[in-house]
Symmetry: C2
Subunit: 102 residues, 2 copies
DNA sequence: CAGATATATGAACATATGTTCATATCTCCA
DNA sequence: TGGAGATATGAACATATGTTCATATATCTG
């Protein structure tokens, strides 16, 4: 059993992944790391919204940022988190398949 | 890449795990499945609060409920989700250890 | 340096969410 | 059947959160 502090930290991690917009950003970076404007375009969201969320994901070390001139390049920072999301993707895919079988 | 619907479903799963009270309930059931009143006592929360959260966890098939007379027994329903949480517990434990090393 | 481009940030707002309190529902037993 | 115990549920409330708009900051180029 995790400590109380760890429990809160774990919940915070899950909470960050628990918003569709943020999850899309993580998935997008997983598929192909990109600059902020590219992410905004790919996800069809405003630059401001993406940037606000990127800040949270960066602070939680889920994504990392590298500046290249005027642009900032975002990519997965935490492979463990990243593979956990992949695992959940797999899980949901399976669950849907099971339900379809019935 | 998951579909839009799947993305929302995945986010919803993470969101459910992203609240400290709910996470504590899941962890408690993982450690030792129990009746509602036991869970409330172990977590030091009100029966009402626990029950509200149990409803969400049950609906998401993260926990399952079995009635035994007047009491209702809750235990993990989804082993995959359960092991994913265990994985996150491990992850946070490691991260803390790494930071301590520095 | 001035302007343009890319990103970050702050304020404001509407909505979602967790918690509490009161009460309903269900189950057992005298 | 009536009452007590265990759980579920609804309303109300305070707070947290996601989004937008406006604007600041940073970087490059002429």
């Amino acid at each position: 059993m995790p400590s109380e502090d760890q429990t809160i930290e774990i919940a915070e991690m899950f909470r960050l992944m628990g918003d569709a917009t943020r999850l899309r950003i993580i998935l997008a970076c997983r598929e192909k790391p990109a600059f902020v404007n590219e992410l905004a375009a790919r996800l069809g969201s405003s630059q401001s919204l993406i940037s606000h969320h990127l800040r949270l994901l960066r602070a939680a070390r889920i994504l990392k940022a590298e500046r290249h001139g005027k642009q900032v390049f975002y990519s997965p920072a935490d492979e463990h988190i990243s593979s956990m999301i992949a695992d959940m993707v797999h899980h949901v895919g399976e669950t849907v398949a099971e339900e379809a079988d019935v």
